[in-house]
Symmetry: C2
Subunit: 83 residues, 2 copies
């Protein structure tokens, strides 16, 4: 079975997000005063071959923890769709 | 009304995604052979004050086109949730 995973990786809520803060401030300067609390992370899509949905999820958790994220400063969530 | 927008910004399908390609290759090297076609973009969350959902969507499209994305190389999609 083949799945497509859509993974969101965001800076943990408890941490400052300097990139997001900078964009929040720019928003104000260029007239988007109604926009606030910008936070910026990564969006990753990938394809994974697996025998089952459970196995695929296990492998994606592995990949997220080992390669794709830094668990000290980032959290992740994902959706998995069979194709 | 206050909304939270979750925006995904991805390199256009027609373009190479060097960062994604590099991660795809790393996956193989560290034993995730079943993972392929990694593509990497940005995930942005923000809060927006607006009189209506329609107005909020218009402003978010504006912000995406003018500040958050480079429309020549990136596409975006988003969901909007009232809070």
């Amino acid at each position: 079975m083949k799945f497509i995973a859509e993974i969101d990786i965001m800076p943990l809520k408890a941490l400052l997000d300097p990139q997001g803060k900078a964009v929040s401030q720019s928003m104000e300067k260029v007239g988007f005063n109604e926009i606030s609390n910008v936070r910026i992370g990564k969006h990753i899509t990938l394809e994974i071959e697996s025998d089952s949905r459970e196995k695929a999820m296990e492998r994606i958790n592995d990949a997220c923890n080992k390669i794709l994220t830094n668990p000290i400063i980032e959290g992740y969530s994902y959706t998995l769709k069979e194709v």
